[in-house]
């Protein structure tokens, strides 16, 4: 076990890793993300973990945070279960595909995985920086799939203190983005919410609060699809994944409590900077310039 190349004891390793994972979980929850985007580079750079091993540990912990936080969203009726279960078909296909590619074609090629991480983190940072919640349109383009599957819904907006109806559109492009989010999840060990939430909001006309709660709920099944492949084929490092899972779970639990009060907008710049740093270290790692 090491931390910044210093040899440390198992206890110190577990405590440090859990603490840093808790910070990642807290940040993730404040932004409505899983935290995986921060976790993988942290494990690789600070703890000298192999890229794929870090990805699998992150993916498994994502299941915990999604299931933990989604439970209350589901109870409150904020997660749209029909939209979630419709899009899950695509995210699960992507999740399994991403994991299979990782354990077969990319087996032992951690540098390539590190390089794949870079554009995804950059894209995520751009999305986060530019993201603005778009109000639902009352008359979006008619979508026969959304009508047939009864995907339209309503939710209680706490800010406006009233019910807001939304009519879903763009189901087919929505499925494409969902499949992409799934691939990214299975391949890189993140939730994929950073892509799914803006897609649901801007393409499918889902209010951003509902999109965020729905994405959170979907991520559990998406990550499971990839995690099953990794776990059964022996790619899960349990001693690494355990402190990460515990830490992220605790952090996201605390973050979900703070969510209503924390000034997420003012923290956004900090998160974008951290993501930029993550992109740089993963690029150096992928090019073999950083061990």
């Amino acid at each position: 076990m090491e931390f910044l190349s210093f040899a440390i004891s198992p206890l110190a390793f577990v405590l440090l890793l859990a603490l840093i994972a808790a910070a990642a979980g807290l940040m993730g929850a404040l932004l409505g993300l899983g935290g995986g985007l921060f976790l993988v580079p942290v494990m690789v750079v600070l703890f000298g973990v192999d890229v794929q091993t870090a990805i699998v540990a992150s993916l498994v912990s994502v299941i915990g945070t999604s299931s933990g936080s989604a439970a209350s969203y589901v109870k409150e009726g904020l997660s749209d279960l029909r939209i979630a279960m419709f899009l899950e078909v695509a995210t699960v296909i992507g999740g399994v595909g991403g994991a299979v590619v990782s354990v077969t074609l990319l087996a032992g090629r951690s540098q390539i995985l590190a390089l794949v991480f870079v554009p995804v983190v950059v894209l995520a940072a751009i999305f986060m920086y530019r993201s603005r919640a778009i109000d639902v349109r009352s008359n979006p383009p008619h979508d026969p799939w959304a009508d047939w599957l009864k995907l339209h819904g309503r939710y209680f907006d706490e800010g406006q203190q009233r019910w807001v109806d939304y009519r879903v559109t763009g189901t087919q492009p929505g499925l494409v983005v969902a499949a992409f989010a799934g691939v990214v999840s299975g391949l890189l060990g993140i939730g994929g919410g950073v892509f799914a939430v803006p897609a649901m909001n801007t393409v499918m006309n889902v209010p951003v609060r509902v999109a965020s709660a729905t994405s959170n709920f979907m991520i559990g099944v998406t990550a499971t699809a990839g995690a099953v492949v990794y776990l059964l084929s022996g790619h899960l490092a349990i001693g690494l994944a355990a402190p990460v899972a515990i830490g992220v779970l605790a952090g996201s639990f605390a973050g979900a409590r703070l969510h209503r009060t924390a000034p997420a907008e003012t923290l956004k710049g900090l998160f974008v900077a951290i993501l930029g740093l993550a992109a740089v270290v993963m690029l150096l790692r992928g090019l073999g310039l950083l061990q």
Binding site: S9, S67, V100, S233, G234, I238, A245
Partner: protein
């Protein structure tokens, strides 16, 4: 203000969600209980692992060997930290699957054919990934 408006102003009405009202409750308890059990097992396992030898801890922080049910059963019978951890992760992974199973049943009972098919498809895809993972 109409009666309807007054009711709306009170707060969310979960019974008006577009799924059978029992489903959100089933999912809520599945997720809460599943994550609770998994977290307890993982905490216990990591505690035992840290208390054990440094060599076995190092092995546990690296990728291991393919999953075997017999190996899991043997390790659990011997109270080994690694297998307790593995069981915790299995419970964690099974938690979202169980909520999909409940969704299939609920939609089937409600005769919602489209969503029964969609949720069965998700289960089948994850079933396929079990095969891929077990026999790569």
């Amino acid at each position: 203000m109409t009666v309807e408006g007054a009711l709306d102003a009170i707060g969310p009405r979960p019974e008006e969600t577009n799924v059978p009202p029992v489903l959100p409750q089933l999912i809520y308890y599945t997720l809460r209980i599943g994550v609770g059990i998994a977290a307890a097992l993982i905490l216990l396992g990591v505690g035992l692992l840290v208390a054990g030898s440094t060599a076995s801890f190092t092995t546990a922080t690296e990728q291991g060997s393919p999953f075997s049910l017999a190996g899991l059963a043997n390790g659990l019978a011997g109270g080994r930290a690694a297998e307790i951890l593995l069981l915790g992760f299995l419970v964690l992974i099974l938690t979202p699957l169980i909520r999909v199973v409940f969704s299939v049943l609920t939609f089937a009972v409600a005769r919602d054919r489209a969503f029964t098919v969609l949720t069965v498809t998700v289960l089948a895809l994850i079933g396929a990934s079990v095969l891929v993972g077990a026999f790569p």
